[in-house]
Assembly symmetry: C2
Homo-oligomer: 336 residues x 2
């Protein structure tokens, strides 16, 4: 790769979209032309990229044959409605909305480098993993020499930015209403989330699983190349603006060497290990950072075959935008 | 039992203490004299009990031979310093501070009735289980005909009232400071907890386990009479004033009948089952209630031998004060 390519960014006015624009510039991604797209309501706004203002246009009329790669960061409905239009026009895409089945759009962990890339032929579609999967996969990949898991148990305590800008606004609004003693009228979520925890993100299926939980259970075995890995996840929404907190429990067949696990995490790139006694938090450590923070590394109280961890990660930056740009950097090198 | 007894309440001015006074009245506990005790700083305050004002006195000078039963709700240091003084004076005690080893002060789940009581001889000491253990044990006892667990995995997302009145005040203060754009100076906790999650409660031991996590891992096998049950817990502090949220994963040897589990929970007393689709929350459901709320009852995404649940419970009321009064009701019937 040495050539620059034309890029489309769908969902440019959202929190992930904005972070993508920043990171494409920061990491000097070889962008020839950048097309910023959103709903027709945002058309006419502009964002700064490499010192000049780029206008946001409506996705509806966009001609995908102008670009080689598109980032889809505008929700799963938009991906579902438009991904075939992009492919038909010869545009490859990175979907960030978890809209496409993994068999059709495999998910990629950029830290694995070329080895982690599926065999592709442009135009192709790949999935950027969900933020919790990114963080867990990064940690478990670093632990691979020490820990061979057969089961993962995850409680993902997700910040309100998981719901996009409107989620962040809603937490701020609800908090202010409550502190001012005004009656609460929830918007966008169905109940009070300020000073409260919501046990699920969105609806659930007949079996009681939320989309995000099923997606995690599908993404992690693929990312870790452990097809038989059993993954169980509870994804909750917490009254935090940005940054996810994950309580991850890794079940192995034999006792875990906790010291060796700490050393492996200490040595890994992309991971910041916080020493025992101290611990990482979403707001105090992870937000705004490229690394995933890990702490509370310990065995089970009564089960030496278990490794327990607390992970804090910036869901918008490392969990979404940075990760997608890293994926694009790999793809452009090998397939575009 | 038909006689009234003299009671001492240590920690009367705290959040648990205040709830205890209310519940002793509400449940018409056979109190002859009620002695309210706290630190010397609170001496002279008074609390209302059965329509009259009862003065709070200093614990230091208290003569335990005046009472038959004492509730210790003033922190583990106070229990450690005074429990022998109480016993020596012939006073039995219910410790609410998790200060005493379970071998010395067994823990009791009142819902099990007489069967759950150890053999005791006054003066005795028993432990009130920690709030998360109360909630989990209640749920797992209801599930006993359907679910035989060999492992529990718990993420306990504890409200700031876990730290007592000062925890509640600190969350309010930090939230107001942040919303007003003032610099944050944490007190009582070592960092920002408003709009953030703290990965541990208090310090940890050499192995990385917090006291509360070890206590849970010891209490649950005893309460459930499953000595080999493996319990792994992560206890975190969340920016919620009152009410705990628990993500509990129950691992069994054979596939779980989820419908039968729901029916067992539906039929149990002390438990309110929230149907699939909807879910319980600490603030919206549990706080102020005697029941423990359970929802999100489902198998593992990829493991039918797993049962996952979300539990919301009032840590001060059902988790502590109500549960201790229920224990006292049993004890007075059989042993006092
Ligand atoms: N937030 C996270 O933590 C996170 C992490 C990983 C992946 N993601 C995924 O990334 C995507 C964006 O998330 P976000 O947090 O940035 O959400 P957001 O702040 O709500 O932004 C949504 C973006 O999508 C655009 N959009 C909505 N409907 C559209 C339509 N019909 N046609 C074209 N554009 C449309 C919006 O444009 P307008 O401003 O014109 O409405 C906006 O730019 C979602 O698919 C989400 O699942 C989010
Ligand atoms: N909060 C919960 O969710 C919860 C649940 C289960 C069990 N517990 C346990 O219940 C106990 C009380 O908790 P809390 O939440 O009520 O705490 P709190 O609101 O901080 O109240 C602490 C109480 O202890 C008294 N106290 C402190 N030091 C004392 C001393 N040296 N001598 C005599 N009294 C002293 C305080 O009296 P002053 O007002 O005079 O300082 C106050 O009455 C703790 O052991 C806690 O572990 C709490």
């Amino acid at each position: 790769m040495s050539q620059s390519i034309n890029i489309a960014l769908i969902g440019a006015t959202g929190s992930v979209g904005e972070a993508l624009v920043e990171l494409l510039e920061e990491r000097e991604f070889p962008v020839k032309e950048l097309h910023l797209l959103a709903s027709s309501e945002s058309a006419g706004q502009s964002l700064s990229f490499r010192g000049r203002q780029v206008r946001v246009r409506s996705l509806d009329a966009f001609d995908f044959s102008q670009v080689q790669l598109a980032f889809f960061a505008a929700g799963s409905e938009v991906t579902k409605a438009c991904h075939e239009r992009a492919l038909a026009a010869g545009c490859s895409l990175i979907d960030m909305s978890a809209a496409l089945p993994l068999a059709q759009a495999p998910c990629v962990l950029p830290e694995l480098g070329r080895e982690g890339l599926p065999v592709l032929k442009a135009p192709f579609q790949v999935s950027a993993p969900t933020p919790s999967a990114v963080a867990c996969a990064l940690v478990l990949t670093a632990l691979r020499p020490v820990v061979q898991p057969h089961q993962l148990q995850l409680t993902a305590m997700l910040s309100m930015s998981t719901l996009g800008r409107s989620g962040v606004q809603e937490l701020a609004r609800q908090t202010a209403e409550l502190l001012n003693g005004r009656p609460l009228e929830p918007k966008g979520v169905d109940r009070q989330v300020a000073f409260n925890l919501l046990a699920q993100v969105g609806g659930v299926d007949e079996q009681g699983h939320a989309e995000l939980e099923k997606r995690l259970a599908a993404e992690l075995p693929q990312l870790l190349e452990l097809p038989d890995l059993s993954v169980s996840a509870t994804c909750a929404l917490v009254p935090v603006f940005f940054g996810d907190s994950l309580a991850l429990s890794v079940q192995c067949d034999s006792p875990v060497d906790v010291t060796a696990a700490q050393q492996a995490l200490e040595a890994a790139t992309g991971i910041e290990l916080v020493e025992a006694g101290d611990y990482p938090t979403a707001v105090g450590d992870a937000v705004g950072q490229d690394q995933v923070y890990v702490g509370r590394v310990r065995a089970g109280v009564s089960d030496p075959r278990q490794l327990n961890l607390w992970i804090a990660s910036d869901n918008v930056r490392k969990g979404a935008a940075l990760n997608a740009v890293q994926i694009a950097e790999l793809l452009i090198k090998h397939y575009l």
